[in-house]
C-alpha cells in the first residue's frame, strides 16, 4: 500500500441557505478544494461523493456525475456513497483505498446535503430512513428518539446526568461561535441547555445537532507526489470503516457502538499510535450523548467516564484533549452527507495551523470519527503532519 496525503481542502459555510441548491454547494466546496491544491479539474482522476438523501431531500439522483460535470470533471469514475451520516466518511475511506492501491493518483472526495428546503417533520421522516423501517421506525422511532434511548440507558448504567449532556452542547457552541463557517455561532449556558424544548426525553433541542445545508471537499494523492501540490501536506496515517446492525434493538449493549470500537482499533493499529497519543479530535456529536459515547469508544476515557470528563471541561480548547474544536455537528451544523468530509477539513485546518482563534498549541496528530445511523457504519481517520 502506498502512503496517502491530503493535498487540499474546501468547505462552504454550513447553515440554512434558501437561495442555494445542492449542486451549487457541492461545486463551491470542490472548486475551493481544487484552488487550495492549485489543481485544474482535468487533473482529477476520480470523484467520490458522499450524500445521504439527495433523492429524498431535493429529488435529484445520479448525483456524482451531475456535480462533477458542473465543475468540468468528466471522463472519470464519479460515484456516490451512501452510509447515512457517515456517507462522506465512507467516500473518503474508499478514495484512500483506491489511491493506496495505486488505481488512481489524484482523487477528489466530497460530501453534500441540502436539507432545509423541507419541513422539520419531513426531515425527521427522511432521516429516520437510516433506521430499520420495518421495525423501530415503523413503531415511531426518530433519530432523536434512538439517541434518547441510548442516553437513558447510559444514565442508568453509568450515572450520566443531564448536566453532563448539557456540558457537551455548551462547549461545542463555545467553539462554534469562533468558527466563521459554523451554522449557529451562538454561545449558550448550561441553564439554557437544560431548559430547552423537549425533543425526545431526556434530550432537548440543545442536545440535538442542526438541520443544515452545506458541502465539504478533500483532495488526496500519493504522499510521494504531495509536494507537487502543496507546502503543507497532511498524511493519512490510519483509516478504517466498519459496520454493525442497523436496528438499535438488535445491539446487545446500546451504550457503546461496536463499529466505532472496531474502526478505532484498526485505525490505531494502521497508524501505529494509541488513543493516548491523539492530541485532538472531531467526533460525531449528532446528539450530545453521542459525543460522550464516542470519547469512551475511542479509548480516550474509560467506559462510563465520558460524562464527568466533559463536565470537568477536559474537552474544551484549553483542556487536555480538545474535542470538536470546529463546534461539532451541534454548533457547526450537520448537513449529513457533508459531515464526514467536513470533519477531515477541520482536522486539516488544525494540523496546518490555520484554525484562527481556535488554533491549538499541540496540533500534529488528530482523529476524526464519523457515525452512520445509530452505529451501523463507523469511519475513524487518523491524520498527522507529513
Amino acid at each position: 500500500m502506498r502512503p496517502v496525503a491530503i493535498i487540499g481542502i474546501g468547505k462552504t459555510a454550513f447553515g440554512a441557505f434558501p437561495d442555494r441548491d445542492l449542486r451549487s454547494l457541492a461545486v463551491e466546496a470542490g472548486q475551493k478544494c481544487l484552488a487550495d491544491a492549485h489543481l485544474s479539474p482535468s487533473q482529477v482522476e476520480a470523484y467520490y461523493l458522499g450524500n445521504f438523501a439527495g433523492p429524498s431531500f431535493v429529488g435529484q439522483n445520479h448525483l456524482a456525475p451531475y456535480i462533477a460535470g458542473a465543475m468540468g470533471i468528466t471522463g472519470v469514475p464519479c460515484t456516490r456513497f451512501e452510509a447515512a451520516c457517515a456517507s462522506s466518511g465512507s467516500a473518503f475511506y474508499h478514495a484512500v483505498s483506491s489511491v493506496a492501491a495505486g488505481l488512481n493518483d489524484v482523487v477528489l472526495v466530497a460530501g453534500v446535503e441540502k436539507m432545509t428546503s423541507q419541513t422539520t417533520p419531513k426531515v425527521t421522516e427522511i432521516l429516520a430512513g437510516a433506521g430499520d423501517t420495518c421495525g423501530e421506525v415503523r413503531a415511531g422511532a426518530t433519530f432523536p428518539a434512538l439517541f434518547a434511548m441510548i442516553a437513558r440507558r447510559h444514565m442508568y448504567q453509568y450515572g450520566t446526568t443531564r448536566e453532563m449532556l448539557a456540558a457537551v452542547a455548551v462547549k461545542n457552541h463555545e467553539n462554534g461561535a469562533k468558527n466563521p463557517l459554523a451554522h449557529m455561532r451562538k454561545v449558550i449556558t448550561i441553564e439554557q441547555a437544560l431548559k430547552g424544548k423537549p425533543i425526545s426525553e431526556p434530550l432537548t433541542v440543545f442536545d440535538c445537532s442542526l438541520i443544515s445545508d452545506g458541502a465539504a471537499a478533500v483532495l488526496i494523492a500519493p504522499l510521494e507526489r504531495a509536494a507537487e501540490f502543496t507546502d503543507k501536506p497532511v498524511k493519512v496515517l490510519g483509516v478504517a470503516q466498519t459496520s454493525d446492525y442497523v436496528a438499535l434493538d438488535q445491539k446487545d449493549d446500546i451504550t457503546t457502538f461496536r463499529a466505532v470500537v472496531a474502526a478505532a482499533q484498526k485505525a490505531y493499529k494502521m497508524a501505529g499510535v494509541t488513543a493516548q497519543d491523539i492530541q485532538f479530535a472531531e467526533v460525531h456529536d449528532c446528539f450530545t450523548i453521542a459525543e460522550i459515547v464516542a470519547i469512551e469508544d475511542l479509548g480516550f476515557v474509560k467506559k462510563g467516564e465520558g460524562g464527568p470528563y466533559e463536565l470537568a471541561g477536559c474537552t474544551r480548547l484549553t483542556g487536555p484533549l480538545p474535542i470538536n474544536t470546529s463546534g461539532g455537528l451541534k454548533s457547526k451544523g450537520h448537513p449529513v452527507g457533508g459531515t464526514g468530509a467536513g470533519q477531515i477539513c477541520d482536522l486539516v485546518s488544525q494540523l496546518r495551523g490555520e484554525a484562527g482563534e481556535r488554533q491549538l498549541a499541540r496540533h500534529s496528530l488528530g482523529l476524526a470519527q464519523n457515525l452512520g445511523g445509530s452505529g451501523a457504519t463507523a469511519v475513524v481517520t487518523i491524520l498527522g503532519v507529513a
Binding site: A139, M149, P198, I254
Partner: protein
C-alpha cells in the same frame, strides 16, 4: 401472553410526519421473556427502565405494550 422488561425508553415530542398527531408518545425497547428485544409503543401509564410490561395489541403493525 408476551411479556418483558423495559431495557430503555423515551417520550417522543418531535414526531416524524406520519406520527405528528400521536405526539407525545412513549417508545420503549423491551427485552422479551422469550428472548430478543423489540421496539414498541407504550400505552397507558409511563414506564421506566426495569419495569415489567405485557403485550396489549397490534395496531397497524405497531406492537403496543403496557405496564404489567
Amino acid at each position: 401472553m408476551t411479556t418483558g422488561v423495559v431495557y430503555t425508553e423515551t417520550v417522543v415530542h418531535a414526531a416524524p410526519e406520519q406520527f405528528v398527531a400521536d405526539a407525545p408518545y412513549q417508545l420503549a425497547i423491551v427485552s422479551l421473556e422469550e428472548g430478543g428485544r423489540l421496539t414498541v409503543r407504550v400505552s397507558g401509564e409511563r414506564v421506566i427502565i426495569g419495569d415489567r410490561v405485557a403485550f396489549v395489541e397490534d395496531r397497524n403493525g405497531i406492537a403496543f405494550f403496557r405496564k404489567a
